[in-house]
């Protein structure tokens, strides 16, 4: 049960939306996206002051003790405004890794600083294969020394702390690593989506601290929270791109009338609305199922995993077509959403894998 009432949730969403409208205008978004870190530290601080980084942190660690319902709605707003920063990485996945672990010391030391926006923790959970499952982990732990590599680690260069999945015998465990530790090398991985700051990290006998009680199940649960947050971003981004497209269709005239009066485009827009609303339903119901610990939570998370990813890719891809040449220019912001949609569709697992998992859940139930 969430410690936050629906009214408070709505108020929080509202203030986040207002903050983004004032401090994350398109011009600011473009400037910060082009900066080396890829995000604005002072805005990150304000986001922290609002309590948004504390949503998933328990009250005893200085957080709000709220859940994915709240986080999901905030991500809808982030999606609309293309606000990325390490929100997914630090405030959702890393926070959840620690919160779900059995390591009270690490929680006490890290979570309140993360919730306040002072410490950024970045998860490094998969190798070059990018499967984001136990089989994809490519780091070995020997005692408290790590060797191997992690890939597609977003915002690694901004990390104060890395949380690294490593093989440990037959299982997988989690280690805390300071980025400046000897034997840790970051190599940037240039990405198509300008909002990303990916790195490949090499570990050569790097000293690490084991996080107690953070096994493969905990890592997976933390990733699932990331997936649900991401589904919120995908749904919110889809909604915004459709709204943008409809507005453009009303203002752009060809053959003496708005292009929005042409049935070919109207019908595309109607179909996209089905995608947008379905994505929103999938994201919200997955979040609720997760918070409530419902029996169908895994099924709904996997459904959101592909339905929201596919919807965002479809909506942004069609939106470019519906705009025409203007959307083929970098000045027009649509391509940024489209790139984000394409990159999110590969982040934390692929649609194909979620489809497989989803059908597996159906097979169990029937």
């Amino acid at each position: 049960m969430s410690a936050i009432s629906p009214e408070d949730r709505a108020a929080m969403r509202e203030s986040f939306a207002r903050l983004l409208a004032s401090d994350h205008t398109e011009a600011r978004m473009r400037a910060t996206t082009a900066s080396p870190a890829g995000f604005d530290r002072s805005l990150w601080g304000k986001v922290g002051e609002m309590g948004l980084l504390a949503v998933l942190v328990a009250e005893e660690n200085g957080g709000l003790g709220a859940g994915m319902r709240e986080m999901g709605e905030l991500f809808e707003e982030a999606g609309k405004a293309l606000y990325t920063a390490p929100l997914l990485e630090s405030a959702v996945i890393a926070t959840s890794l620690l919160a779900l672990s059995a390591d009270a010391e690490a929680r006490a030391r890290l979570l309140s600083a993360m919730a306040a926006g002072e410490t950024i923790a970045i998860p490094a959970l998969t190798g070059d294969s990018g499967t984001w499952d136990a089989a994809g982990v490519a780091v070995e732990a020997a005692g408290d020394l790590l060797s191997g590599h992690a890939a597609y680690v977003n915002h690694a260069a901004s990390a104060d702390v890395l949380l690294v999945a490593a093989r440990e015998g037959a299982g997988v465990a989690l280690y805390e690593v300071a980025p400046a530790t000897d034997g840790v090398t970051l190599t940037p991985q240039p990405a198509n989506d300008p909002s990303l700051r990916l790195s490949r990290i090499n570990f050569e006998g790097a000293a690490a601290r084991r996080i107690e009680g953070a096994d493969a199940a905990v890592i997976r649960a933390a990733l699932d929270r990331g997936r649900v947050a991401q589904a919120g971003e995908q749904a919110g981004g889809s909604r915004h791109v459709l709204d943008m497209t409809v507005a453009y269709m009303l203002g752009r005239y060809q053959f003496g009338r708005p292009i929005g009066s042409y049935q070919a485009l109207k019908h595309m827009a109607a179909d996209l609305l089905v995608e947008v609303e379905s994505a929103l339903s999938a994201a919200r119901h997955a979040a609720a199922a997760m918070d409530d610990g419902s029996a169908d939570a895994v099924q709904l998370v996997s459904l959101a995993g592909f339905a929201c990813a596919d919807a965002y890719v479809e909506v942004t891809a069609q939106a470019i077509q519906m705009h025409g040449g203007i959307a083929y220019t970098t000045e027009y912001p649509l391509h940024l959403y489209w790139r984000r949609a394409r990159s999110l569709a590969q982040m934390l697992g692929s649609s194909g894998a979620f489809c497989e998992q989803y059908l597996g859940e159906w097979e169990k139930a029937a």
Binding site: Q263, K266, H267, A269, E277, H285, Y358, W362, A365
Partner: protein, 400 residues
Amino acid sequence: MTGAATQATATNDVEREVRAWLAANWDADKRCEKGTDKLDAKGWLTRVRDAGYAVPTWSPEWFGRDFSSAEARLVDKAFREVRAPGTGQDRSNLGAVTVYKQGSDELKAAHLPGMLLGMRGCLLYSEPSAGSDLAGVRTRAERNGDEFVVNGQKIWTSSAREADYGMLLARTDWDVPKHSGLTFFILPMRQPGVEIRPLNQITGESEFNEVFLTDARVPAANIVGREHGGWQVLQTALAYERLIMGEGASQRGGTKVSRVPEVIAVARKTGRIGDPAMRQRIAQQLAWRQLNELNMRRAKEEIRAQGSSSLMSLGKLAMSRIQHGEARLRSEMLGAEGLLDDAAHPEARDANFDSAKAYMNSIGGGTDQIQRNIISERILGLPREQEADRTIPFRDVKSG
């Protein structure tokens, strides 16, 4: 006490009340009224109606209980548990809903009591030259004292042969633009001026018909809404019809509902469940169906919170890809067996049937294209389709 807690208490009370009522009145084993041996349908429906369970969300003045839709769902659930018929007519009984929403008190008093007791209706809307463009109907109704005389032809009329009454859209004024000269009537079907010819459908059924109206009579008192105000009444009736279709009740009679989705059952039977490419498509089909259900759940929450939800308009369109897609996938998995069509091959027969029946959703009640027009115009606010005949007197409209 918080609002949510009050509501929870109220819903528990409803559930308890309905269960007790059913226990006292319904024999679940014999499936008839307690103390009898055979179902007297009309007698049972009368009891349900008079207890307020036929249309629980309606006002007490008109057989209802002022229940919320959540409470009505509890009534529904209790009735389903003991397989008792008669509730939920505030959603499913199109004729009664239209009269309740749009009719005068006199009309309600005259028709609702009977309509809630199993009278059957049919929809006399489509004509040979007016399908999607329903405002173009040419069936004429002319006043003659206290009644109207009706002449014209309707087509695709489902269940016309079984119907007691028809919901008739007819033209009463030819000198005004097409939307303004229509009137909506409740036409008694069992009369000499109504001739019905069945049509054979691609499903193998023949549930729809041509209906020829030759000097058929309808009392002026049977007008729903205003004379010449039929277009508005039709909008209410169509909205309900589409709502029902959007929830996608099974279209195939007789097959019992199973917990295993048919795409999975067929995939298991044919061994295609192990085919990775096929598994992706099966998952996609299941997802479309579940997403529609989640949309409808969210719609109900929105309706509870703010009175309406635009999500409701998406269900029927979404249902088309669900029904066409599932039927096609099942056919494909069956392979050559899908060529066969007899009782020894029920999966093949069902897949063949459903492949045809899916068009009922994508054509009937307004085609997918018309649904897309409606969604883009009424929800997204895009410009209306240009209509060459929208503003001219109907008399001058071309047809073909």
